[in-house]
């Protein structure tokens, strides 16, 4: 239980990230290649993410459903880009039985070979559109506005906890519409839901806009995305919303009779975010002391650490602590917290000293710490500390107990805003316009960041830049300034600047 220091961001950013994931008890690698164990504190954050996002989905008219984990191999072949995009990295089920071999454990029973192999879903467009065929006959059956919370598997060779794992948890929305316009509106609506979630809940500012051809989803006409900047100035793709046109309807024969009696193929969208968001949360806000969580997604909002020596002190301090805890739980923040109660923990564990507890809760990212000892109690007061502020600035001494709950409510809301503002300032300070390819090649290495550059719009140039610099086009922001120019690489005409960065 010795408190080893976390590696600092300055010293080794990758190690700092792994230290946070490990020391805050968020996740660990399992003995199954590429698969992670999401530990209780990490899963509690995922539950917060799920519930808040789920409400945003339901408020925009969506319902949840559940489709099979397995996809027949032949389904993948029906949509050409899909097969190319996902066939290379998937878990293939070929048998359905093991048998015990005396002295040798269990072996695959060759007699149980499947007629058609199954793959574990890497994404569910194929199995869902195969199902929609029976659900859609008339325009009256549309739109279908369905979301699924599920696990998916992509056989990644190089994995990193939360950011890239073979199995991950996600949600995938799959909608079917009677018209192209409606489907395109849905595609845009959902990327805006993601923006709202990223900015208002995760306190993580994002750029929003389409991906380039080279970066879009296999099978999509176009992909919209939210793109965030991490503290090492690299980009994280945090959510995508795809307009799929009629590709899947044609591949799976999903037709309907429109208002005029004409038979049409349905129009599709799909959109998803995953446990990768937890990686984004860590890399946006955390510091060299540990995890920092935006209050709206914190599993525990405030921890009260009682300080005492004698039994008499303990009983008086714990009584006051429990009373304060209840008044914090009663704070009128229900709507702000997605109708879940304010979560308060009184850390009354006898086997640990207060200093140990302070460190532990700092490491785990609890937004507000309350210190309460006999001297505080004698003054009818307590000490409050806000997780995101440095050193002495974090502490408020002598806060009257009668006002403490209200003050904590204010601190939670102020912290949510401060985290967003700090992250946005950081991002904005690290976005640069750049005009020559030489300058670009230098700057992408040092100082790094997001670079707004003119590009000729071709896949060829995009691929060349990626090959030469490892930077990719992250997004063509909806709100970019109107400015035509010349491609920094080829000198060909450009319709406007796009965002280049190195990315996770």
């Amino acid at each position: 239980m010795a408190a080893e220091k976390i590696t600092s961001r300055a010293k080794d950013y990758s190690q700092w990230y792994l230290d946070i994931v490990n020391r805050a008890g968020l996740a660990e690698n399992s003995d199954v290649r590429g698969c992670m164990v999401i530990k209780p504190h990490g899963y509690a954050i995922w539950e917060k993410i799920q519930r808040s996002l789920d409400r945003l989905f339901k408020d925009t008219g969506h319902v949840n459903a559940y489709f099979p984990l397995f996809i027949p191999k032949s389904f993948l072949a029906r949509e050409e880009q899909m097969a190319e995009g996902f066939a290379k990295e998937c878990a293939v089920i070929t048998h359905h039985r093991l048998k015990a071999i005396p002295g040798r454990g269990v072996e695959v029973d060759p007699e149980s070979k499947l007629e058609e192999p199954l793959i574990v879903r890497p994404t569910s467009e194929t199995i869902i559109w195969n199902t929609y065929r029976n659900w859609v006959q008339s325009y009256r059956d549309l739109p279908l506005l369905i979301n699924q919370w599920a696990n998916v598997v992509r056989w990644e060779m190089r994995t990193r906890l939360f950011l890239r794992t073979a199995e991950f948890l996600w949600q995938e929305g799959h909608t079917a519409h009677a018209t192209q316009q409606e489907a395109e509106e849905e595609t845009r609506r959902m990327v805006e839901v993601y923006r709202t979630f990223a900015e208002d809940w995760m306190a993580m500012p994002v750029l929003v806009g389409p991906k380039s051809e080279g970066q879009k989803f296999p099978g999509a006409i176009y992909t919209l995305c939210i793109e965030a900047m991490m503290q090492d100035k690299k980009a994280l793709q945090a959510g995508t919303s795809h307009f799929l046109g009629q590709n899947f309807a044609k591949a799976f024969d999903v037709k309907f009779q429109d208002r005029d009696g004409k038979v049409e193929y349905a129009w599709a969208t799909s959109w998803g975010v995953s446990t990768r968001l937890i990686g984004g949360l860590i890399m946006t806000h955390s510091d060299d002391q540990g995890l920092v969580l935006p209050p709206r997604l914190a599993p525990i909002h405030a921890v009260i650490v009682p300080i005492y020596k004698s039994d008499a002190e303990k009983s008086a301090v714990l009584e006051a602590a429990n009373k304060l805890a209840q008044s914090i739980r009663d704070l009128p923040l229900r709507e702000w917290l997605n109708y879940e109660p304010v979560s308060v923990k009184v850390d009354d564990r006898d086997q640990y000293q207060p200093g140990f507890k302070f460190n532990e809760w700092e490491l785990k990212g609890v937004p507000v710490r309350v210190e309460l000892g006999p001297k505080d109690l004698a003054k009818g007061a307590c000490v409050l500390a806000r997780r995101d502020l440095p050193g002495k600035e974090a502490k408020e001494m002598g806060v009257p107990l009668a006002n403490a709950a209200t003050r904590i409510g204010e601190m939670l809301q102020a912290m949510q805003k401060a985290l967003f503002d700090r992250a946005r300032n950081f991002r904005d300070q690290n976005i640069h316009e750049i005009n020559t390819y030489d300058e670009f090649k230098k700057s992408i290495e040092e100082p790094g960041g997001f670079f707004l550059a003119h590009w000729d719009g071709t896949r060829e140039t995009e691929d060349r830049i990626a090959a030469e610099t490892k930077a990719t086009i992250r997004c063509i922001p909806f709100d970019r300034k109107q400015e035509s120019g010349k491609c920094m690489v080829t000198g060909q005409p450009s319709e406007g600047r796009v965002v280049f960065a190195k990315a996770y």
Copy 2:
């Protein structure tokens, strides 16, 4: 959209069940062998079940986490009973890549063969205890009180929607303790949580007690269960809680230093319920008109069907309907409904007639229907109908709008109680003591039900009875009367009566 009648229970119980699942939009078979699609209304019920159970778990000190979908083949071999119990029916992953073959779609790439095959988890004891090895060093690290919400796969040959499917959704609790006593207390605590959930939320009365040796979980020392009677008098195992002793700790080397410095193996429990509960819900309460849902688990509590002809009528009626809906949402039932709002739908779809809507919501099991037309409005009143009562008894005419919300709150609570009482009466009327094997063999066929009979306690007799009658020992109820006797089959001494029934 023609309203085909549901097959009646009396005519064909199995078909009635499938008709309900189909017509209420709960689930359907997919094109993947044995896997179901859980449709939005079915999934909404599962979400209700999840949230209510999850709160009961957290209130008893448990936290959620997530472990890998895949289990290395060798793990299964480490616990002998586990290997025997699950190896016969599992999805085996042997390769990790497909490749495109021009003109032939995609094929499994033989070069991507895994060194060690993986199986899709049929249950997670092995992977979880393999993880716990690194989490447990000292008694201070115990207990681990962890639950997982997940999908699991068992390669069932004969499937039935919700009741038995190859893939299903469930929760599995896996706890580790420092002492046998603590683990046994946990085993009992969790079966009682299941009883509470079954009776207070599902309104489904259950018998509670251990399984016989022949029916226990592979790898368990003993299994406790909740067992319910369906309307065809067959039994449904609805939840199990296993005391696993030190079997998994020994198989995966999970040791800790106890208070005295001695190294011990940890003690284990596991417990689970699944989407099978939705099958139980249907078969406990539903009728020949469709689904009947206990209000505490209903995704929609009340539907308001406005009745109008002219536009003027429509606007007046809808205004009153929306006002009433809001007052229903504001009912003080939050705690009773697990802190989720009362859910009300105003069915303002123009394309359907009121009669069609009445049928649809009846089919879907909405507990209370409100009818509101211009004549009602003129009297400042509405008509209420309770889903579980027959014919005219269901209706309350001329309920003043000012009282309607309160009255609906009362009806929801009364209905929850009435469903439980009706199910318990039915169950109690169909439990019989029986003393001879001849009588047993006749009665198990007709009239059927649960039979309390003496049994000599041997596996041999248990297996013989199962082979000859298809009835199994469902449970040895905790609250059985103290009565020794003689086994109905062998005449050997019996410690008390056990419950026999045919089961799903």
